[in-house]
C-alpha cells in the first residue's frame, strides 16, 4: 500500500493511498487538531507542541514526548501551501543539535474516490543518519522511530 524508494543518492519518495478526498487528507497534514491524533510515532508518545503553518512563510514547530523525560523537536518553515493539492516546506530536527535542512514536497492527487499522496524529501547526510540511529538505539529504538517520523 505504501511505497518508499530512493531517487538518486539524495531523495526519498514515499507514496500512499488514502480513502478520503484530497481536501480531507491535506487538512490532516495542515491543521493542528487533525495532526495531533496521528503524527506520533510509537504508541505512548504524544505531541507536546503542534504548531503547523497556516500560510506560506509561517514557521512550523512540533515537539514530542514519551512522558518519561525523552523528547525532541522539529522546526521548519512553510514555502508553498496550495490547498488542497501541494505543500512544500523545509524542516530540521533537534537531537538536540540541529540536523541539516530537509526539503519536503508533498502532493495530494485525486485517485478514484480517494487520494494518492506523494512525498519527496531529502535524504539526511550519512553522519546525520548515523546520529539518528545511534541516539535512537540508546532509547531502545523507540525515540529513533519518532525522530524518523518527523521527516514528515
Amino acid at each position: 500500500m505504501m511505497t518508499l524508494t530512493l531517487e538518486g543518492d539524495l531523495h526519498v519518495v514515499v507514496t500512499r493511498r488514502f480513502a478520503a478526498s484530497p481536501e480531507t487528507v491535506y487538512r490532516a497534514h495542515t491543521e493542528a487538531a487533525l495532526i495531533r491524533p496521528w503524527m506520533l510515532g510509537p504508541d505512548g508518545w504524544t505531541m507536546t507542541i503542534c504548531e503547523p503553518a497556516a500560510a506560506p512563510g509561517d514557521k512550523i514547530h512540533f515537539a514530542w514526548s514519551d512522558g518519561h523525560g525523552n523528547g525532541f523537536s522539529l522546526t521548519g518553515e512553510s514555502l508553498v501551501m496550495e490547498p488542497f493539492h501541494r505543500l512544500v516546506h523545509v524542516e530540521r530536527m533537534h537531537l538536540p543539535a540541529p540536523t541539516p535542512d530537509n526539503h519536503v514536497e508533498t502532493n495530494f492527487a485525486p485517485d478514484g474516490t480517494g487520494t494518492l499522496m506523494t512525498m519527496r524529501m531529502t535524504l539526511p547526510d550519512a553522519a546525520t543518519r548515523q546520529a539518528m540511529l545511534a541516539t535512537g538505539m540508546e532509547h531502545g529504538m523507540e525515540a529513533s522511530y519518532v525522530r524518523l517520523e518527523t521527516v514528515l
Partner: protein, 110 residues
C-alpha cells in the same frame, strides 16, 4: 553495547567528524585529502580519524606511507536501516491516519 553506542554518539557529536564521514560516504580518502576542506592541520585531522576509527565508523588500510580511510560497513548499512525505520514509522502513522479519515465525515462540496 551501551558503551559502544555512547562511543559512537560521542564520535558523531563533533561537526568536523560528521563532515569527514559525509566526505567518506562518497569514497575512500587520504588524511591529506580530508584535511584540505577544513583549514586544519593533518595531525588535528588524524586525531579526529582516530576517534572515528575507535568508534568503529571508519576503517583504515596501509598503502605505502599512506593510510587511506573509508566508511566501515556498519556505517554504510545505516542507510538501509534508516530507510527501514522510516518505513515502519510512516506505516504506523498512516494506519492511524486511515482510522482518523474513516471517522471524519468528508465535507461535501457546497
Amino acid at each position: 553495547m551501551a558503551s559502544g553506542l555512547s562511543t559512537t554518539f560521542a564520535a558523531l557529536s563533533d561537526p568536523t567528524r560528521r563532515a569527514i564521514l559525509s566526505r567518506l560516504a562518497s569514497g575512500e580518502a587520504t588524511v591529506m585529502e580530508l584535511a584540505q576542506p577544513f583549514s586544519m592541520s593533518q595531525p588535528a585531522i588524524s586525531r579526529h580519524l582516530k576517534v572515528l576509527e575507535q568508534a568503529g565508523l571508519i576503517l583504515r588500510r596501509i598503502d605505502g606511507s599512506k593510510r587511506p580511510c573509508r566508511l566501515a560497513p556498519a556505517a554504510i548499512a545505516e542507510t538501509e536501516q534508516w530507510l527501514a525505520q522510516l518505513r515502519r514509522i510512516l506505516e504506523a502513522n498512516y494506519s492511524r491516519l486511515d482510522l482518523l479519515l474513516a471517522a471524519t465525515p468528508s465535507k461535501e462540496p457546497s
